[in-house]
């Protein structure tokens, strides 16, 4: 009965509420940032702090194109449909010049598809899925962080150096886990054709039955274990595995396991001797890296996570692309991304024209315990460019273009 009234009132109220927020801060360049601030608070929080740190620096130095740079942060509840709606709002109502954000790959893919349809530029900062730049790649989407394929290839290279012949894999039962195992397998078999995969375990994401998984892997008696689980799954897997002696005398690789987001919560139970990709902020010595870590710690009285670094580099990339474009027009930004060079804490990175993937690499090293917490030692920074297919091969991976 009164339903239309209700709806109308509601829309009017929302509209009124929005005009107020929209009217503030006139002459800035706005970037729409969409993330799962609540659903993945432990990851999105440091990421946002990285962005804010960079923003302060940029605006203190006079902004970009003569205007201050502003980020509009919005929470999508981790729901792709919601993210698409917010993206529309940011671009059509709030006057954002481009979009960035997301950690979850599915949300990143949803925004990327919208970006292609509506011609918005989208810089996928954190999602890892290869599909974002390859199988589902499109002219309007770019990705900053080293992808699943790149990081898995780095670990496969390390695995090939060991004597291990038989491998077991354990990965969460969803797209990221499957991609990570497939990429590792392909890369390893190229380097070590006689490698054999004797067990593949697929626990449900965040619902691992760690005791049973450990028993199942132990039964296969592999020489090496490739782990893709993370978060609470990783904690449970490490605990059961250590208790039951699963890791004794075995080579263990952990994708992302060395990132502070995952290593810190394990405290003094962090596994030792795992070969991992991660972020050893405590060990970086060179000026660029050190400057970022110091500035971050001075501002927040907390150490950076990998998300902080990615957030910081997101802003740097956006500043670079706007300056190169010399305008905030979508097409100008899009074209400026081609072979864009950005100077970052981890060195210069390039957004490849062929597949829109940045050459940001990853730190690979071994875990150990120091002062009651897990750290990476003997690490090296591996340039992402070395783990990407050639531009011609990459083009072939993008059927839509």
């Amino acid at each position: 009965m009164r339903r239309r009234n209700f709806l109308r009132g509601l829309i009017a109220a929302t509209a009124a509420g929005l005009t107020v927020t929209g009217a503030l801060a006139q002459d800035t360049i706005k970037i729409g940032e969409i993330n799962h601030y609540k659903r993945m608070a432990a990851f999105a929080g440091p990421y946002k702090q990285g962005i804010e740190l960079a923003l302060d620096e940029v605006n203190a130095a006079g902004g970009v194109l003569g205007k201050p740079l502003e980020f509009i942060f919005r929470d999508d509840q981790g729901d792709p449909g919601e993210a698409v709606k917010i993206a529309e709002e940011l671009m059509t109502r709030d006057g954002a010049v481009m979009l960035t954000g997301t950690i979850l790959s599915n949300v990143g893919l949803a925004i990327s598809s919208l970006a292609a349809e509506k011609k918005y530029v989208y810089l996928a900062s954190e999602p890892l899925a290869d599909a974002i730049v390859w199988a589902k790649g499109n002219p309007y989407t770019f990705r900053l962080r080293a992808s699943t394929h790149m990081q898995a290839s780095m670990l496969a290279e390390e695995a090939a150096k060991t004597d291990a012949k038989t491998f077991a894999t354990i990965a969460p039962n969803y797209a990221y886990g499957k991609d990570a195992v497939a990429a590792f397998k392909a890369a390893l078999l190229k380097l070590k054709p006689d490698a054999e995969f004797v067990a593949e375990q697929w626990p449900a994401l965040f619902k691992i039955d760690a005791g049973a998984e450990v028993q199942a892997i132990e039964r296969a008696k592999p020489d090496a274990i490739y782990n893709v689980t993370f978060g609470t799954d990783l904690a449970k897997f490490v605990r059961e595995g250590t208790d039951r002696g699963l890791f004794d005398g075995r080579v263990v690789m952990g994708l992302l396991s060395g990132e502070p987001e995952y290593l810190d919560p394990l405290r003094d139970e962090a596994p030792e001797g795992w070969i991992v990709t991660g972020y050893p902020w405590y060990g970086v010595e060179d000026d660029a890296n050190k400057a970022f870590v110091d500035a971050y710690m001075a501002t927040y009285k907390d150490h950076p996570r990998i998300g902080s670094l990615v957030g910081y580099m997101t802003v740097q990339s956006i500043v670079a692309v706007l300056e190169k474009a010399g305008s905030t027009e979508t097409e100008a930004i899009r074209e400026a991304f081609a072979d864009l060079h950005v100077d970052t804490p981890v060195g210069q990175i390039t957004f490849r024209a062929a597949d829109h993937q940045a050459t940001m690499g990853a730190f690979v090293g071994k875990t150990t315990l120091r002062d009651g917490r897990g750290v990476m030692v003997d690490w090296t920074y591996k340039d992402g460019a070395d783990y990407l297919p050639s531009p011609e091969e990459a083009k072939a991976l993008r059927p839509g273009n």
């Binding site: 009965m1 929302t14 729901d79 529309e88 949803a110 039955d209 005791g211 199942a216 449970k236």
Partner: protein
């Protein structure tokens, strides 16, 4: 053989926490008939509180003391929730309380984040129980053995409480016939509070006792929710031995699943539930449901009637405003209203099933997501044009509903609800697992409308036409002879049968019809977003619709639509705040307390009181 035994021991240890949490849920449901969605939140609180206490209390005594205290503390929080949130709504229509518990989930999530921070917490080890014991050469963690030993004692203590004490007698009596217990002079309010204390304390105990096997994190509330519902249903609602047996069954089967069928981790539990319910419709130890024997709680429902002239004019005016929206509203206003309209159609289809048919489906997202995926598959693999897809999506969803309905309608009440949930979950895992075709959780993207409808305004009009058309069709059906037959089957199956109505068939058709309408909404959704992901099939999506229907008012025709518009609109606004879950949760709880008849029902009542609307009862 040794491996086999080690596996069984792992399964038994896993069953421990699961049993405690599920037993609490079962008790609460058995006595109060509340489907407590917030039970997972109490489990999470137990883990966090237990963790904090273990930091303060030293040694083995401190460790075990912390677990017990965590249980008590969570029980007390449960009492507060029961008194403040649930007591005011006991007289509301059946299952209405689940909306309130949903609000509680949101509030607890944000409060937990505020108190303990975002980082996962690793559970402390049990003093003296670190490491393993070798049993026939296989390593078995000491704490696992402790859990295996403790659980039967908890179960026994519960059994003693229920079977041998006065409180237990009352609880059992209330489980069987709570009206009679009330008539015999037992203070029901305190009985309910007591049971709620016990139930939530068990959840807290479960959360604290699993700490050495894992820890505490902010997602654990939802992560355990489906598992405990499955355990309770397999065991039989309200049965403690059933809960124990089911927890062991699920845990042990899961361990074998991991070893021999590693890909099965997503579905195994639900397959077991479907099989058990097919063989034993009320779970292993459950009795046939007696709820509703004395009719529904609250005042009898009014007969529905066609809208009067004023109402029609108001609706028409509202539609006109919507039709002219592109003239005065921004492009985003159209996007937002498109979203809301699609959701309203989805909610209206569930409302039809729930309000008119009395069929509580916990898995309605299966048809929304099913329609969405049917549309996406047709576009991606057959290049079908949008116009045809929008016709085929509801048909596909309707067909799915025909098949699922045929199985589920053999059961009634909560068991029916849980079976629909199981099927939705099976469909979800099919989509999730079958990555080659459905893209898994990377979903299906680039499904955009035909050229003529790709403009925001054009698509807005298309949605307006189809959604309003669908809603009016649902409403019209409610007034048709079919609608009368459906309500007859809902209110008194026996009398309806006596007058020659084939109630099962009527319900089956209604189930398919509601599914088809949800499928239409799903089809529209895909084209509005350009992509679809498995979360459109998730339990959370089904709950969204359920909550909206109850919030709007089950016993009113417009409930689904109004609830959908209100919640989606409020959500769009509230999610802009930092602690939006807290705000949204409190808003929902307040609405529930102030409007126990739902938004529409309570507005109507208020209108009658101040004389704006005539009370039809007053004249007849």
């Amino acid at each position: 053989m040794a491996f086999f035994i080690a596996q069984i021991l792992t399964g038994l240890a896993n069953a421990s926490a699961l049993f405690m949490v599920a037993a609490g849920l079962s008790l609460i449901f058995g006595v109060t008939r509340i489907v407590n969605f917030a039970h997972g939140s109490f489990y999470m609180l137990g883990a966090y509180i237990g963790y904090s206490l273990m930091q303060i209390l030293p040694g083995a005594v401190g460790f075990w003391g912390a677990i017990l205290l965590a249980g008590v503390a969570v029980g007390l929080i449960g009492v507060i929730v029961e008194i403040c949130v649930l007591r005011p709504v006991y007289r509301a229509p059946e299952l209405f309380q689940l909306v309130a518990t949903f609000g509680v989930i949101l509030v607890i999530q944000d409060l937990t984040l505020m108190v303990w921070g975002p980082e996962d917490v690793l559970g402390p080890r049990a003093p003296g129980l670190r490491g393993v014991i070798r049993i026939m050469g296989e390593p078995v963690p000491k704490y696992d053995l402790a859990l295996i030993a403790i659980t039967p004692f908890v179960a026994l203590a519960l059994w003693y409480l229920i079977a041998r004490t006065r409180m237990g007698v009352l609880v059992r009596a209330a489980t069987q016939d709570r009206e009679m217990v009330g008539a015999l002079g037992v203070n029901q309010a305190w009985l309910f509070t007591g049971v709620f204390f016990l139930g939530t304390a068990l959840a807290g105990l479960g959360g604290a006792i699993q700490l050495p096997k894992g820890g505490a994190d902010l997602l654990m509330d939802f992560n355990i929710l489906t598992a405990i519902f499955v355990v309770v249903v397999i065991g039989g609602m309200g049965s403690l031995p059933g809960a124990y047996l089911a927890a062991v069954l699920i845990s042990v089967l899961n361990v074998f699943g991991v070893a021999y069928l590693p890909q099965s981790t997503l579905v195994l539990m639900f397959v077991v539930m479907v099989i058990v319910l097919m063989v034993r419709p009320y779970g292993l130890f459950g009795r046939e449901e007696v709820a509703g024997e004395h009719g529904q709680i609250g005042e009898p429902e009014r007969p529905i009637k066609p809208a009067g002239l004023t109402t029609r004019l108001v609706v028409l005016a509202g539609l006109a405003v919507l039709a002219f929206l592109p003239l005065f509203g921004s492009s985003f206003a159209q996007v937002l209203v498109t979203d809301i309209l699609i959701f309203c159609l989805f909610a209206a289809s569930l409302h039809f099933l729930l309000g008119m048919g009395g069929l509580v489906s916990f898995g309605h997202a299966a048809y929304f997501g099913g329609g969405a995926y049917a549309a996406a598959l047709l576009v991606t693999y057959a290049g079908t044009p949008m116009e045809l897809v929008l016709l085929l999506a509801p048909i596909a969803a309707g067909l799915a509903a025909v098949i699922i309905g045929w199985v589920c309608l053999r059961l009634t009440g909560v068991y029916f609800a849980m079976l629909t949930l199981a099927f939705a979950q099976l469909l979800w895992s099919l989509v999730f697992q079958w990555g080659e075709v459905t893209g898994g959780d990377d979903g299906m993207v680039d499904i955009w409308p035909s050229d003529w409808a790709s403009d925001t305004t054009a698509f807005f009009y298309l949605t307006l036409l189809l959604s309003v058309g669908g809603i009016l069709m649902l409403r019209h059906t409610a007034h048709s002879p079919f609608g009368y037959a459906l309500r007859a089957a809902r209110d008194s199956a026996r009398q309806a049968e006596a007058t020659g109505i084939d109630t099962k068939r009527i319900q089956w058709v209604a189930f398919a019809f509601a599914g088809a309408m949800a499928g239409l909404a799903g089809g529209l959704f895909v084209f509005s977003k350009g992509s679809v992901f498995p979360n459109e099939l998730e339990i959370a999506k089904s709950f969204d619709a359920l909550i909206v229907v109850f919030l709007g008012g089950v016993k009113t025709l417009a409930g689904g639509v109004v609830g959908g518009a209100a919640l989606k609109g409020a959500e769009d606004y509230i999610t802009r705040f930092e602690y939006w879950r807290l705000v949204l949760g409190i808003t929902i709880i307040l609405v529930v307390i102030m409007a126990p008849d739902g938004i529409v029902g309570s507005l109507r009542r208020a209108g009658e009181r101040i004389g704006l609307i005539r009370d039809p009862e007053a004249r007849s």
